[in-house]
Symmetry: C2
Subunit: 167 residues, 2 copies
């Protein structure tokens, strides 16, 4: 049995996997919460489902349970401050002082001006090591106007353009 690579080597290598920057939100009648994540990808379009990885030790983790509303907001390039706010240690409501927020279908907070938002329900989850993988079924989407997407690669923010409004 081969030993896995050490954590530092893995993290340095993983810095080479570029990704979009997303703010993942939830809400119920009494609270809102959210966190920044780059470990987000599409799983299947039948039914439309994406996944989000979250650290099990995150203070936000207990907010996300089966059936929770979950919105995956893909950040635009002018939303670095929102990325930073939701990756820091602010109290949940202080995070939401950054940006303006709507709701769509599920009640999860939907970020104004995001590149795109996926309004979901948490359908299932699985724990792997230190993290949980949340499988989220998409109930509604909202596309922003053409612009630029916030990307993260090599421990640095970047931006890439998108044009298409509707296919």
């Amino acid at each position: 049995m081969q030993m896995p690579v050490d954590q530092q080597t893995y993290r340095s290598a993983m810095a080479r996997l570029g990704a979009a920057v997303n703010v993942i939100t939830t809400a119920d009648g009494t609270m809102r919460d959210g966190f920044t994540a780059s470990a987000v990808c599409s799983v299947t379009d039948t039914p439309p489902t994406l996944l989000v990885c979250i650290n099990r030790s995150s203070r936000s983790r207990p907010r996300f349970v089966q059936g929770s509303p979950v919105c995956v907001n893909v950040l635009a390039s002018d939303q670095r401050g929102i990325s930073d706010a939701f990756s820091g240690k602010l109290d949940p409501e202080h995070k939401f002082a950054f940006g303006c927020w709507d709701i769509l279908q599920t009640g999860a907070p939907v970020l104004c001006g995001a590149a795109v938002s996926f309004d979901c329900r948490l359908a299932s989850e699985i724990d792997v090591g230190t993290h949980s993988v949340l499988f989220c079924e998409v109930e509604a989407t909202r596309m922003g106007a053409p612009g630029k997407s916030l990307m993260y690669l090599d421990r640095t923010y970047h931006e890439l353009p998108y044009q298409i409004d509707v296919i």
Copy 2:
């Protein structure tokens, strides 16, 4: 119960989630195979584990079983041809005519000149809708020289720079 969004709307929205372009490979004594994937992300560093989503109807799918060697090769910007080859319908060995290939630890094909390669074993999997999510434990990594990463957003290739060689 809310109906999910239709597939076309979901796909158009998902085109706004930028991602790195990766070629996922495997091999045993008699064959090599691989496919292009953008649905790849880190799960945990304890043990170092990433995930890859693959369509269950893909011809390559049966090659990936528990314990299989799996290499996740994150493409550099001059490797669009390799992305196209591994996303097309070529026979597996014809795909490998594109690029040059090494092995590291597990025996899975490792692409020369990739931004980074993660040499893994398939540790577990879960089916979600039309796709399988493959959880891959990383046994070795190889970083390329500083350069540019191939990215995909808005149904178009892009590139982003990376500098760091070793932290």
